[in-house]
Amino acid sequence: MPKQQPKKRTIRKKSQKTVSKPRTELIGPLAVSLRSVKKRYTLHHEKPTFVEKFFGQTYNEQFMAIDGIDLSIPKGQKVAIIGRNGSGKTTLLKIICGVTKQSQGDVRVNGRVVSLIDLEAGFHPELTGYENIALNGLLVGMSRSEIKERTPQIIEFAGIGSFIDAPLFTYSEGMKLRLGFSVAVHADPDILVLDEMIATGDANFQKKCFNRIEEFFHQNKTIITVSHVMSFIEPHYQRFVWLEKGKVKLDGGKEVVAAYRKTWK
């Protein structure tokens, strides 16, 4: 990524200075800005019911998934969020994507967020490929005119062929995955949210996916990922945020990964 080099360096310098401290200084326009964000969940042991509440038998067990996080992600930065299971990574991503809302604090997100985590959420088995593109396109944030314009590219990229007129229940699992991925990557995201495993379809399509994601890395897209698999993410990202028990433990460059590795046995 030669074009990105100078920008990268400045960001890293600053991030090293502010390791594990809240990043308050602004580095260009921000894509994501979180200010003392907290997310509280109420634990249920059974389905919540009205009768229970009425008789005062509610459980008030609470769980802080995110316990005061300050995080500013400048536009174009590639950030990996690392940490153990249950450290709050997924909750943080859900808040950034707008799937759920923080209990406290301020969240600002500039631009279109597209998540490549679950791509089949909006699919309906009875509808055709075309109809599903129209619906899933809206779900990832495209407008109707954008969808109309990009439908040929989406179909072409997914390699669905004549199945595009057939209802989705006739598709193989691989075809559904391909269609979902294709819709999402054509949404032209400003902020891309990735999962560690992007296992989509056969080897051929997987290569196509990686190329596409690689393209996003070269463009000035903000990319946020959650991961356990260090070897895969390390070379691609500039900044690593280590979460533990809902708090930022370390925030910085590759040294964060090294420190995180030491906690492994």
Binding site: Y41, T42, K47, P48, T49, F50, V51, K53, K94, C97, G98, V99, T100, K101, V109, G111, R112, V113, S115, I117, D118, A121, G122, H124, E126, L127, E131, A134, L135, L138, L139, V140, G141, S143, R144, P167
Partner: protein, 268 residues
């Protein structure tokens, strides 16, 4: 990425979800459209056959009277019953993406509205046909009657408002209190009999008739009967109470839904 109410994306989204509801329904059944009309007709025949022996309703045609009430009632009850557990039924979408949550509820209401409108048109044809065949109406009388039938449009607007209000309210509540669904399932058949669909309020003891106006569907169904079959309204002043109740319920439903919607993911 925040969604704004009533902007272009919002409308596109609600429209697309409604189309999905309508299309998905007719892809399952070849005779899908036929069922729109067949379902209330069968209901009408069964209820009409039994109840005409029990309920001495003074109307020209008890079957038409039943049908006029059944169509709006079915729209209301199907929509509310389908919408109450819908947030947990659609959890795969809610847990994965960010979209205006109310679109799920509105799509069900609007697709059912679309179905009801088709059946309604057919009913109007039958009504006009009935006037020609049994009452030998002249052309001017027919025109007058047709114009009168236009009054059902604002009534359908009111019905949609009320249905949306209850749907939003129950859908939002059922996320946190799962027994709301059981409650709605249990109450709906009773609600049917608390609404003057198979009977008229004039048949009830005086106090009881007025009490039923606490159910906003009462005034609404009465007006449907009044417009289409020229039935007398039991208490016009209390009908205004029902309009008021419906508006309050609509805003209550919107308010609770909008307040709870960002946290649906935590509960489903």
């Amino acid at each position: 990425m925040k969604h704004h109410f009533l902007d272009q994306f919002w409308f596109e989204f609600v429209w697309a979800m409604t189309l999905k509801e309508i299309k998905a329904r007719y892809k399952k059944a070849v005779l899908g459209f036929l069922w729109i009309f067949l379902n209330p007709v069968l209901q009408m025949l069964v209820i009409g056959f039994i109840f005409q022996f029990f309920v001495p309703v003074r109307v020209d045609n008890y079957f038409l009277f039943l049908f006029t009430g059944l169509l709006p009632w079915n729209f209301f009850s199907y929509s509310v019953m389908k919408n109450t557990p819908i947030m947990t039924n659609e959890r795969s979408m809610i847990k994965k993406s960010n979209f205006p949550r109310e679109s799920i509820v509105l799509a069900v209401v609007f697709s059912n509205l679309f179905h009801m409108m088709i059946a309604w048109m057919l009913l109007l044809l039958v009504l006009i046909g009935d006037k020609v065949v049994t009452e030998h109406h002249s052309l001017t009388q027919l025109t007058d009657y047709s114009i009168r039938l236009l009054y059902t449009l604002p009534l359908i607007g009111w019905l949609t408002l009320l249905t949306t209000g209850f749907s939003l309210l129950f859908a939002a509540l059922n996320v946190k209190y799962r027994d709301v669904n059981f409650l709605v399932q249990a109450v709906m058949p009773l609600w049917f009999y608390a609404t003057p669909i198979v009977y008229t309020l004039q048949l009830l003891p005086e106090f009881f008739g007025s009490l039923l106006y606490l159910n906003p569907m009462t005034g609404l169904i009465e007006l449907f009967h009044a417009v289409v079959l020229m039935q007398p309204v039991y208490d016009p002043e209390l009908v205004i109470l029902d309009v008021f109740l419906s508006v309050v319920l609509f805003f209550l439903g919107c308010w609770i839904f909008i307040r709870e919607a960002p946290y649906f993911d935590d509960w489903v």
